[in-house]
Amino acid sequence: MSEPSDLDLLYTDVEDDLRAVVRRLLAQRCDPHAVAALYDGDRSPVAPLWHGLATELGLAGLIVSEDRGGAGATAREAAVVLEELGRAVAPVPFLTSSVIAATTLLDTDSTLVRSLAAGETVVALTLPWSTAPFDDLPSIAVDRGLLTGTMTSVAGAVEADVLLVPVATDEGVALYAVSSEEVQVTPIVSLDMTRQLADVCFSGVAGELMLLDAETAVRRGLEAGCALLASEQLGIAQWCLEATVAYVKDRRQFGRAVGGFQALKHRLADVYTGVESAAAAARYAAASLAAKSDDLSVACGVAQSYCSDQAVAAAEEAVQLHGGIGMTWEHPAHLYLKRAKADQLALGGPGAHRRQLADLVGISAS
């Protein structure tokens, strides 16, 4: 078993400032009604919002080193951004481009990192969004430099300018880059339209080889995704708790604020307990990633096992405790439920993470 590390699980002043800036921008450009409109196909708010985050705030290259054009921050700061994106169910490719693709690219010397960091190019790692870092990696076939095949349910592809493609070679998985204009990207009706997936079809397109032996880089990208998805899930759960507490304080039934009914109070106390615990798990994963800790895989497994389920539980309680209004399209609760549930299926899912964790900590299934 790897040794757990003694890391700071709180927020630094710098992180608090970053949070404030991100939250302010989201309050201005990420209105819940605009987010709901994504479900009806209106994606117009995505571009200005992403421009604000990526370019104006310079977050596209947050974790890219300064010498490659990034902000040189760590996963801890990226986690804070993701908490805020979760709180706002923001429809932006930060996790897919600025975390997963950026981490994967850090092993290359490609200049693509620089344009990613500048907010000029959005990049997506072309794998099904349900792929865990420890799964067998699906891949695309290559013949004389031409890529052929289909990758389904890819997150971030709709927004991407460049696709990073795991390609099967005799020596293992290589990584190619392809302009998204040269492939067929078919958006699919997704359970969570705030992270709309797409099927990507390669029909003999030429790709640029980024890395020959790319399995480690790809898995590292996915693992970073797991570590920080937990913070997005934390943000979702926090919004659900806060919105529900505010609602039950205000909503009156039987002559009383419903938040005074003890059964609801106790359930919200349990949600609070879960959210606080999720914060510890998510912060530990982010800090482990930032510190390149040996314990990162355990931290990821714990965070994904816990935060995935916790975000769903918080969103389900939010819908229920809002009563009928939580079932309506008008109220934003449904946006969080869909995001939480889709996030639970992403990057492996809690059951797969627990099975992997069992191996890591020596609790064999049989």
């Binding site: 969004w129 349900s130 389904t152 039987f254 009914f261 059964a263 769903v312 079932m327 889709a342 899912g349």
Partner: protein, 409 residues
């Protein structure tokens, strides 16, 4: 019970006499079928109503003969097997299930004569205007106001969660007629014409993308006093009677094993061997057991209530139903994994019928969230069980004695 309504005599044959046993009733139905070809659906259904072969348990003149309720299914079977026109009960569930028994119990002779026949034939669809944004679980808190104006009432307010409002001709309506008395005492029950120009029906879109329900805005809607049901101020009592008919449908009474959501999810499991994992398997089996136990509980409840209404024990069934459905549908998405990330269609549609197990796994997951809200939230059901079954003290209430207008909103 003597006839309360002067029944139009379309036929002069055996319809004069109340059938004395089930065999006689079946013969009457067979005779009716011999005499009516059913080419015109409405004509056929009206005649069936007038022959007392609609609701056999209703009194003479109201579509029946005051016969045992258990005989109804026999008559329905005969008409169904003959392929005769249907009154399509699936699109008038509120009319048949809630409005009709209430009108029968509380209506005037004139009201029964006017409304029951077109209601049963399906010529007039009904909806229910009870719930309001500010009156959810606390249904007695309605703030839609009805003010007397000569022989009429003028009604203004907002109703919500109204299924079928967009194609209903009439509504049962609960409105506040006196704000100076405690809230349960100041309501009156009306039969409201949905074609009134003061009525505005808007689809209420829900979490699934669909709009099963509507919001209904009432602005100075006029209702003749003759369409008041029961006395002024009796609205709560009558509405309670209406709702007592609601919470009966849940549960697998008499259903086969693996009926409902468990059947769908078990099928998904069997179809997707590559998605199987030990944790998912154990959770599925736990829920399989829960579903089977619910089925057995429904069977037991039905056996208990053969000679009466299911009591508040039905609340326990509904609690289990909601919980099991919600867990099953959540699990199904986890089983599906990548496929669970896809949804069929978010387009706003107004479905005529709702199938909880229909569409895709994402829809089922989202729709099941309503199971613990609609027809009594799980929280209200737990109150009912703890107070009415277990006899635990009720919540401290301040809102039962103060005048309605003085309660904080």
């Amino acid at each position: 019970m003597s006839p309360v309504v002067t029944r139009p005599r379309h036929r002069s044959s055996a319809a004069d006499d109340r059938p004395t046993d089930l065999a006689e009733l079946c013969r009457r139905a067979a005779d009716f079928l011999d005499d009516h070809d059913g080419q015109d659906s409405a004509t056929f259904l009206r005649a069936r109503f007038d022959a007392g072969l609609a609701w056999v348990g209703y009194p003479e003149g109201c579509g029946g003969w005051g016969l045992p309720l258990a005989w109804q299914s026999e008559v329905d079977r005969i008409f169904e097997e003959a392929g005769s026109p249907s009154n399509r009960p699936e699109v008038n569930d509120i009319g048949l299930g809630m409005a009709a028994p209430t009108i029968l119990t509380f209506g005037t002779d004139e009201q029964k004569r006017r409304f029951l026949r077109p209601l049963w034939t399906g010529e007039e669809i009904w909806c229910q205007l009870f719930s309001e944004p500010g009156a959810g679980s606390d249904l007695a808190n309605v703030s839609t106001r009805a003010s007397r104006d000569g022989d009429e009432w003028r009604v203004t307010g907002q109703k919500v969660w109204t299924s079928r409002a967009h194609n209903a001709q009439f509504a049962i309506l609960l409105a506040r007629t006196d704000a100076d008395v405690p809230k349960h005492q100041g309501m009156t029950y009306f039969l409201c014409d949905m074609t009134d120009p003061g009525i505005d029906v808007r689809p209420l879109r829900q979490i699934t993308g669909e709009a099963e329900f509507n919001e209904v805005f009432l602005t100075d809607v006029r209702i003749p006093d003759s369409r008041r049901l029961g006395a002024v101020g009796d609205g709560w009592k009558i509405a309670t009677a209406t709702l007592a008919n609601e919470r009966v449908h849940i549960g697998g009474q008499g259903a086969a094993r693996e009926t409902g959501m468990i059947g769908v999810v078990a099928a998904t499991w069997r179809r997707c061997p590559d998605r199987r994992a030990p944790d998912l398997h154990d959770r599925l089996m736990e829920l399989w057991v829960d579903a089977e136990v619910s089925r057995l509980s429904g069977m037991r409840l039905q056996q208990k209530s053969t000679h009466g209404r299911p009591g508040p024990e039905g609340a326990a069934m509904k609690l289990s139903f909601a919980r099991t459905n919600q867990r099953l549908t959540g699990l199904e998405l986890e089983i599906l994994g990548e496929d669970g990330l896809r949804y069929s269609d978010w387009t706003l549609v107004r479905p005529e019928e709702v199938e909880l197990t229909g569409r895709d796994a994402g829809y089922r997951y989202l729709r099941a969230k309503g199971n613990s809200i609609e027809g009594g939230t799980s929280e209200v059901l737990r109150n009912i069980i703890s107070e009415r079954v277990l006899g635990l003290p009720s919540e401290p209430r301040v809102d039962k004695v103060s005048p309605w207008k003085e309660l904080a909103k």
